[in-house]
Amino acid sequence: MKKAGLLLLCGALFFAACQKDPVPSKDATLDGVTVDVSAISTSARKIFVLNEGGMGSNNATLDFLRFEDGKYISGAFKKMNPTVGGGLGDVGNDIAVHGDEVWMVINNSGLVEVISAVDETEIATVTVPTPRNIAFDDKYAYVTSWAGAFVTYGADYSVTDSSNPKGQVYRINLNTKKVEGTVEVGYQPEGIACYDGKLYVANSGGISSQLPPTYSYDNTVSIIDTRSFAVTKTVEVEVNLKNVYSDGQGFIYVTSMGNYYDVHSGLYGFPANAPENVGHVWSELYKHTHVSCSCILGDEVYCIGTQNEFAFGEKHEYTVWSYSAQQGKVIFYPLQLTGVPYGVLALEGDLLLVADAGDYFNPGTLSLYDTSEQDKRWSVTTGVCPGHFAVWK
């Protein structure tokens, strides 16, 4: 009788557990700093923040903002994957969400790390030499790589050609998490975006500019057809390209870092159906539309830039602005940024999350701004060099 009662109780508990969804996620135990998330659109469940760390310091870390309880949680990857030797790795260069997976590009570890967005546990790792940035279509993840770069690899990464300094795009099957082919692009490819069966890759030439024989930056966007996985067109934009964004409505944006000397950084763009019609965004009123860091929200690209960007030894006054090709106008915002903005994420409701890298050596800060106000709403301490964001809805 006693036993039967116990069984009954167990059954009831089991039933209750089944009914009362969710078994708390494994990362529910992670605690952090509480911030005010009430102003941020609640369609997001988490905002992930990838901290790059310093090259050679093996201190890339993953933080996230949890909307359920408004906690900002630091170093989540290491906490949820204590058995992964070396933690997240060396230099986290890009992060993106696909479904319920988070894909992180760990540049100097030569890895793409795939984790669960639910509890940050590792799902798979993919080896890509010197990977930079990532984009998806519905079958593949595409990762730009410098290293393919300096050498071409055969099976097992044995060298087949060491005279070719061009970069590659690696294609990774979303289901198997295996590399299924590479395609050669320009010198030191950076940003990548996918729109309507085409990949748009920004080539920087950041290393070539320092080296013989060319000593020059790349200035092209490589356009790849995803079906044939071949470069179908190469468009000249401006030197030292960085990010690529698609507005989802047929317009492609590209940012250039300039040459730190006589070509300023800036925002460029072209229609996907006429890529040779490259335009440059310029504000006569403010005498600059320079870009230190940027992001896209809907059809609007948000940029943070500084007018005196060649004055390397001086304190910079940063301005925040946005541009939409659909609306065709530049908007400047009154934010008063402090520190060194290293990454930005625009959110619904005219909000901006701005990452300040500080001295790039010690932990940085993340602040929430309203685009119509000068001062920040709140700040939290991040890892070293916070710079990349991904939203899990």
Binding site: T83, G87, G89, N108, Y157, Y215, G258, Y260, D262, F312
Partner: protein, 638 residues
Amino acid sequence: MILAAVIALFLQAPPDTLAPAAVYAVKERPVVRATEAVQVDSLVSAPIQVAEVLQRFTGVQVKDYGGVGGLKTVNVRSLGSEHVGVFLDGIQIDNAQNMQVDLGRFSVDGLETVSLYSGQKSLRLQTAKEYATGAAVYLRTATPRVNALRLRLRGGSFATINPSVTWDRKLGKVMLRAAAEFLGSNGRYKFPCFDTTLVRENGDIRSLRLETQLFGNTRGGEWRLHLYTYGSERGFPGPVIRRAQGFPFSAERQADQDLFLQGSWNQEWNPRYTTAFRFKYANNYTHYDTHPERNPMALPYNLHYRQSSAYGSLAQSYVILDPWSVDLSTDFQYNALGSDVGQFVRPRRGTLTVALATRLAFETFRVAAHLVYQGAWDRFDGKDAGGWTRENRYRDAWMPSLSAFYAPFPWLEADAFVKRSYRLPSFNDLYYSLMGNSRLEPESAFQTGLNLRLHFGMQAWNWSLHLSPYYNRVSNKIVAIPTSSQFRWTMLNLGLVDIAGADVKGVARFRQGDWSVTLTLRYSFQQALDHSTPGGQTWGNQIPYIPLHSGSADLQADWRGWTLAWNTSFYGERWARSANTADYHLDPWSLSDVSLSYRWRKLSAGVHLKNIFNRSYQVVQGYPMPGINGMLSLEYSL
């Protein structure tokens, strides 16, 4: 200064050939003693590199990236290694490219003493540059007196092999020394890598050192000439990071060819007036290659650098009225750096350093005052950029210092110093492509310190205690910071560090019959606080890699030809960042070494074990150090 030189020249008395040369007391009485000094021959541990000797000194941090071929720089009392001058026979071994000397490259073979001056060195006939560095490491080569041949062979762990030969020959009135040394090691050792154990790869080195020295005398003087060549080829094993399987940590290689010719001529023109002339020509060639064909993760750098420098110095010393003397030293140096790196501006620098010093040296009370003026003209190719003007610039600084010595009792000596010095921005700070800032000002170091030395002797026992509290402030510290573009960094005079510390050293020696036992205890307290940005998150934190507490114990016992030495050193917790957080915490460690050697007539042999408890530790985060390792040494002199 110039006036003083003229006065000095006019005041010199005519040579007095009849009376015996007067010996002036001021010449014999140093105002400042070395903080630490060792006779290289007396070292039982058989060090190969100078860095191994300095490691034991109090108040010194040797930054060691691991392995025989790894970079080893020295930092004294947290001033920063750029403020530490390294001098070989009074002539600076300099590196205008980064202002750091790799002490792993300098062999102790052929050296007589290695000494350290933490504050102001103040001896007669110093070069002006000796007055101008914050702290100084002195390497003095031995002067051969008779025909001799010495063969030495060392070898052991990491397939280290280190044969050397020194040959001394009397050629008429001139003494010749020729020396050759080879050092090879595969640099392979096990280390814990996260949850597994790996072997350090690509840390091998081969190097060859060839030296010729000539020693001669003039009437009332002496001269020496030193030709030094060094070639090495080594790998850098890289930091230990998470790496995709199949990719190495590093395939970086570096080849160096260094050459210098230096000489000195000391002449006593008359009992009052003495001069020292010194010169040096140096040429250093470096080839650095990341070998992307062997490491898919490598950025494809294959670069060449050539640094050359020419240096001349004239030091004059004049005894005005014994024990009062005055010194005037004038140095001129020219440095140039060439490279095939993109947008390289080929910097050149001319540096004039003038030092005026005066000393008053009574038996028990001595005082010295020094004033240095240093000016540097920089020239480089290249043009202005937008709002960013690169400037060909003249930088100068005055560096005053005062030293005093007082010995009230035979068993107590005290000295104190106060000093301000500057270090010029390096070529890398100023002109490194996409990083340098040609507007930098010199970095400044203010130092003050006190030394108390107590000696007691009692029959077979000898005791000494050395206490040195000090305070330093490094301001206008040159730090790298990012610009509006994350890919473009620059250097700024931003840092401020306050350092308060104390070094304590106690020695007890017992000698009776064939027995001699020496116990040396060292302790160092160093609080080095980052005061760069008031209100910043690192304000008030301990700066990277400086332990608050460190110390060591040495025990040496000698009996007939046998010597047994034990050393245990302790380093307290440190941080790899000014953010003193758990992620950057480096555990304290202690290391124990033991050596046993035996000398029999012309032959000596030794066995040396290091890290005998096989501790795993890191001096620099990401660079594991070797576990237990051993070496055998053999020496034959004839």
